[in-house]
Subunit: 337 residues, 2 copies
Amino acid sequence: MKHQITIKDIAVKLGLSTSTVSRALKDHPDISPKTRVAVKELASLLGYRPNRIALNLRNNSTRTIGLIIPEIEHYFFSAIINGIEEVAYKNDYSVMVFQSNESYKREVINTQAVLTNRVDGVLVSFSKETRDFSHFQRLIDNEIPVVFFDRVTEELQADQVVADDYQGAFIAVNHLIEKGCKRIAHFAAPQSLAIGRSRLSGYHDALLKHDIAYNPALVVLADTFDSSKKAAHDILRNADRPDGFFAVNDMSAIAIIKAAVELGLKVPQDVKVVGFENSKSSALIEPELTSVDQFGFELGREACLQLLRRLKEDEDISEFKPVKKVIKTKLVVRGST
Amino acid sequence: MKHQITIKDIAVKLGLSTSTVSRALKDHPDISPKTRVAVKELASLLGYRPNRIALNLRNNSTRTIGLIIPEIEHYFFSAIINGIEEVAYKNDYSVMVFQSNESYKREVINTQAVLTNRVDGVLVSFSKETRDFSHFQRLIDNEIPVVFFDRVTEELQADQVVADDYQGAFIAVNHLIEKGCKRIAHFAAPQSLAIGRSRLSGYHDALLKHDIAYNPALVVLADTFDSSKKAAHDILRNADRPDGFFAVNDMSAIAIIKAAVELGLKVPQDVKVVGFENSKSSALIEPELTSVDQFGFELGREACLQLLRRLKEDEDISEFKPVKKVIKTKLVVRGST
DNA sequence: ATGAAAGCGCTAACAC
DNA sequence: GTGTTAGCGCTTTCAT
């Protein structure tokens, strides 16, 4: 990098001290209008930009937020990043992105990286593999504010921002029942994830409400396209095949539709399908997918706002009360039901 | 943030000077084994982590890469980020992400932000609006290495990493012709973008090769889902409707398929469609979309590798020779052709 | 083999 | 109204 103009350069050229220049630049009342103007003019003439690194060192703050996320290449997460970046941008924060790639090991390294980079706070959605949360506890021990979103845990004293997974699942399954489904399958996420548990629970309770017996055989662990396609093929070949599916995410739901079509079944006539996410893809397929919108952008926004709130606080950990923000979901009805 | 252990803490506890501790920590040969061990043990006991900010200030380097990108919420770009982050991670760099949201104004602010954050280098794909490149020139003037990817310009002396858009377009249109299409439309990106021009050019030359006259009426500016859906409806209602479409991206291609189906046309029997991107969505729709894979992950990798190469160089601008790396594309044939 | 001191760029308490 | 000085955490000459 080229020599960057410093406050000293300006001071020397104007025969002033660096402190005067510093003060002039930030409109300190003591400074005479003359010098203030002179300093500012020369500064803009030379293209002076304050050295953020020096400020970082002095203020022990980087105005940077660390983001630890499973994978960017997933519509839901990229929507979240979008929301985060939007809020960060408006508040003059920058965002450093670290992917865990759904790997626990990599995630641990990510937490070290955010520490090394001295970010002011961290936003986290952890990997599917993660069972142990001590690496996040380490951040908290260092008094770095951490806000979890989407993939959260009660094991840590930390803020959470989540979609209303239970409610979303409930309205999705309720919708299937109202559309006439009697035998509804659920393709679920791992039960180690709270979203997996909440969505299963919503599914369960919606059945209950309509006096439909909960049948464990209709609940399958399948949250990726490939695993869901395979599982759907298997389950749809049975004589007593389901007439409705509630999938834990859109990729899984789309796989179910594909499998049904391949088996000569008609959607929604023979089989109805509801997804969760309301991704871009849901409006592209045929029939279009009914899906629960979990407002990723909004979720990202809220998570970031909560983090910024923490950063503003005088942090007295002793009386730290975790906040849990729940974003309502909404069913978007399309052709698949 | 809690008080972070510093080199001074260790020095005091051990009755040493900070310089000795510093040297011990980095295995300086002068240091006696005894002190080296003592220092290292205490360091790990206290959980010492070097303060990156202090190092940044001293070394005038942040081991951080700035990424300026139109929008994260787009499969192609998120694949690129993935590739970038992968390379950065392996080389112990962090990535700061700045979205332009396809806005020129925001992009200018983004360039200021990367300057302020003193990133070591910048990766850029500029917005559709961008006509003036002086904000990037400012980065270059500051001797900050800049590598452009996907959306590039010849107006600046800077490295470029692009997909082989011309070749991709050529093989796509060639494929349509070989499949029997006589009247092929092209849904194009703005001609202000090099990708818009190159893909049009590939389309043009493929027609030429097969002695098909180039017909400007068949070239439409439409690179989003909505605009393409509308344009496809219009053009497909004509008596002399096209029997083949080459779309500048997958969203546009999928919109064409949707429009065709809505008009009662069969894909691929009546109309064949090829997209460009090979996004996840292309394999989800029915019929599945034939598309040109532009290897976003690879492109991100290469762009980041090129930037790291520049960062390692002794930068003598006087003899700077821009490098242009072209990533070959590949046609992925599916049901839509 | 270790320490003292200077410096990276900036700010702020303390002079005058 | 402006200058001096110290300090943020670390490294690196230059002493000893």
